[in-house]
């Protein structure tokens, strides 16, 4: 991957971040922290890795993305709008009555949403189901599933982890957005996840560790996952909650709080010029 291409993706990630803070600011409600921490991963999935067609969102052999940590919906909506599933102007309707941009993703209301999520822990199981269906149908698509680290405290994640390795689901790639914070505090204070790499390895997964904000590392990890046979892959992405906006970074106050007017303009100026 040449540096110019990397720079292009970095710019795209900025656009996604800009949409995220604008949408949430406009809605005066939403989850900026966990949307921003996942922005680089989502950017690479939608603008480098995944095969899909916004004009034919039901294409049977499309790659699928399941946002198990459904509260990062603004990041997903931003990517879908940028990818051409719906007009970018629609992003302003986030969380408003009558909008398809529900607080958490609703697969029936918006093209490109593969699964309704929001109640944590369920998306990885659903992703397994989609991946098994590819096997039954003789299709080559891959299923990508973004889970949270707080979400990993829920038991169903580990049920799904066992399912994926037991059935050798190697067309499934999970990504852990490991931003190390949850609503009530840090994971280490609330209920620690470590040793997270050992946990996934012991569940029979191929584990790749990366800096979740380094574009070329993210690209390499997804490409590496393509060559794994006979077991599922998890990319453990070391991320910063609120990444890209200094006063949101590592600040649990912005897990589920919208920026006010002043904060929004400060955030936008920090994210900077990004040539839409």
């Amino acid at each position: 991957m040449n540096t110019e291409k990397i720079k292009e993706f970095e710019k795209k990630a900025k656009v996604i971040r800009k949409h995220i803070v604008e949408m949430i600011g406009c809605a005066a409600s939403g989850h900026p922290g966990g949307s921003l921490s996942a922005a680089d991963i989502i950017t690479i999935l939608y603008f480098y890795k995944m095969k899909y067609d916004p004009k034919n969102p039901a294409m049977p052999d499309r790659d699928r993305f399941v946002l198990s940590k459904g509260h990062a919906a603004p990041g997903l909506y931003a990517a879908l709008a940028e990818a051409g599933f719906f007009p970018k102007s629609y992003l302003k309707t986030l969380r408003q009555i009558g909008s398809s941009l529900q607080g958490h993703p609703d697969m029936l209301s918006l093209p490109g949403i593969e699964m309704s999520t929001g109640s944590l822990g369920q998306g990885l199981s659903a992703a397994n189901g989609m991946a098994l269906a590819a096997r039954l149908d003789g299709l080559k698509y891959k299923v990508y599933c973004l889970i949270g680290d707080g979400e990993s405290q829920s038991g169903q994640i580990w049920e799904a982890a066992m399912t994926a390795s037991h059935f050798k689901i190697d067309n499934l790639i999970a990504i852990l957005d490991h931003n190390k914070l949850q609503i009530d505090g840090s994971l280490n204070e609330i209920k620690a996840l470590h040793p997270v790499v050992d946990k996934w390895k012991s569940f029979g997964w191929n584990v790749i560790e990366i800096d979740g904000h380094n574009i070329s590392s993210i690209i390499k990890a997804f490409d590496q996952a393509d060559h794994t046979n006979g077991k599922p892959t998890i990319i453990i992405a070391d991320t910063v909650k609120g990444k890209g906006v200094s006063f949101m970074e590592g600040n649990i106050a912005f897990h589920g709080k919208a920026p006010n007017k002043d904060e929004l303009s400060k955030a936008l100026s920090e994210i900077g010029h990004c040539n839409e």
Binding site: P60, N128, L136
Partner: protein, 315 residues
């Protein structure tokens, strides 16, 4: 069981019907949670091992995995005991299945107290309530093996989420054949009568018919209606029965609150207030015991139904 002596297993019929459907439709996939020998999905597993997934004792994972499969156009049947696929996995059913209207058919066995000796943890007495409250969910409680087959076929052919509740025990055969006009959402008048209507579902339909048979000898004429579809319920038939017979008894192997009786009471209260008595489990947990002993102790026998009829008629 004087008027319906033959019995058959609803769950065994389910397993065989799955095989019948699986042969015709390659899109049918079946998931179970380590109870395939009991739910009889093992028949399907044996015939179509590639389309069967045993998810282990992980009902929440099973329901959401089924949902994921269904997003790709599969018709997914998931089975385990009624307690586990409704109570244990309720949020998964709500968020992963009912909300996105996915084509997942939750077919449970071991509904009600006749699960018997395993006791409270394995007796589903609130499953109908838990499923019928969910938007987009169709809820069916077949009365015998013949109806079970028809309900499973109907569920497979319809799109969207279904909950079908079956029993552990063999159930009296009530229909001579499958030409009686089974239709989702349409109740069946099993026998006509003018003094009172007994509205029942599941195994209680046989009890209601027995009660009606006995009461006839005492000069009491009972209509018996099988409401196999709890949701969408046959409102017109229920109102018609209330108008024509004036009194209604409901009978179900479920908590009195939240089940068939509740649905009937809601319809009648709004449309045609009618004197009624609801028979079911009266806000209590049951216990271990033989199925027949439990039915007797908790007031779900045909004589309990007959007593309620006499009570409502002041006889």
């Amino acid at each position: 069981m004087n008027n319906c002596p033959k019995k058959a297993s609803t769950r065994d019929t389910y397993g065989k019907t799955l095989v019948e459907l699986g042969k015709k439709n390659k899109n049918i996939v079946v998931l179970d949670a380590d109870l395939s020998a009991s739910t009889r999905t093992c028949h399907f597993c044996k015939e179509f091992p590639d389309r069967f997934f045993n998810m282990g004792i992980a009902e929440q994972d099973m329901i959401s995995t089924a949902a994921g499969l269904a997003t790709t156009g599969k018709t997914v049947f998931t089975s385990t005991f009624a307690v586990f696929c409704t109570g244990r996995a309720w949020d998964q059913v709500k968020v992963s299945v009912a909300y996105p209207k996915l084509n997942v058919k939750i077919v449970s066995t071991h509904g009600g107290i006749t699960t018997g000796e395993d006791g409270v943890t394995h007796q589903a007495l609130e499953d109908i309530c838990l499923m019928k409250v969910l938007p987009n969910m169709t809820v069916i409680v077949p009365a015998d093996a013949i109806e079970t087959r028809l309900a499973i076929i109907a569920a497979a052919n319809a799109s969207g989420p279904f909950y079908v509740r079956l029993s552990r025990q063999d159930t009296p055969i009530l229909y001579e054949n499958d030409n009686y006009g089974f239709k989702i959402g349409k109740g069946i008048v099993m026998r006509d009568g003018k003094d009172v209507t007994i509205i029942a579902c599941g195994i209680m339909v046989a009890g209601a018919l027995d009660a009606a048979f006995d009461l006839e000898k005492k000069g009491i004429s009972c209509r018996v209606v099988n409401i196999h579809t709890i949701k969408p319920i046959d409102k017109e038939l229920i109102i018609q029965c209330a108008k024509e017979t004036g009194r209604i008894i409901t009978a179900e192997e479920h908590q009195i609150s939240g089940g068939l009786g509740s649905s009937v009471a809601e319809i009648l209260a709004e449309n045609c207030p009618t004197k009624m008595i609801r028979i079911g489990i009266n806000d209590t947990f049951a216990e271990s015991g033989k199925p027949d002993e439990l039915l007797e102790k908790y007031g779900l026998t045909s004589s309990d139904i007959a007593c309620a009829v006499k009570q409502i008629l002041n006889k």
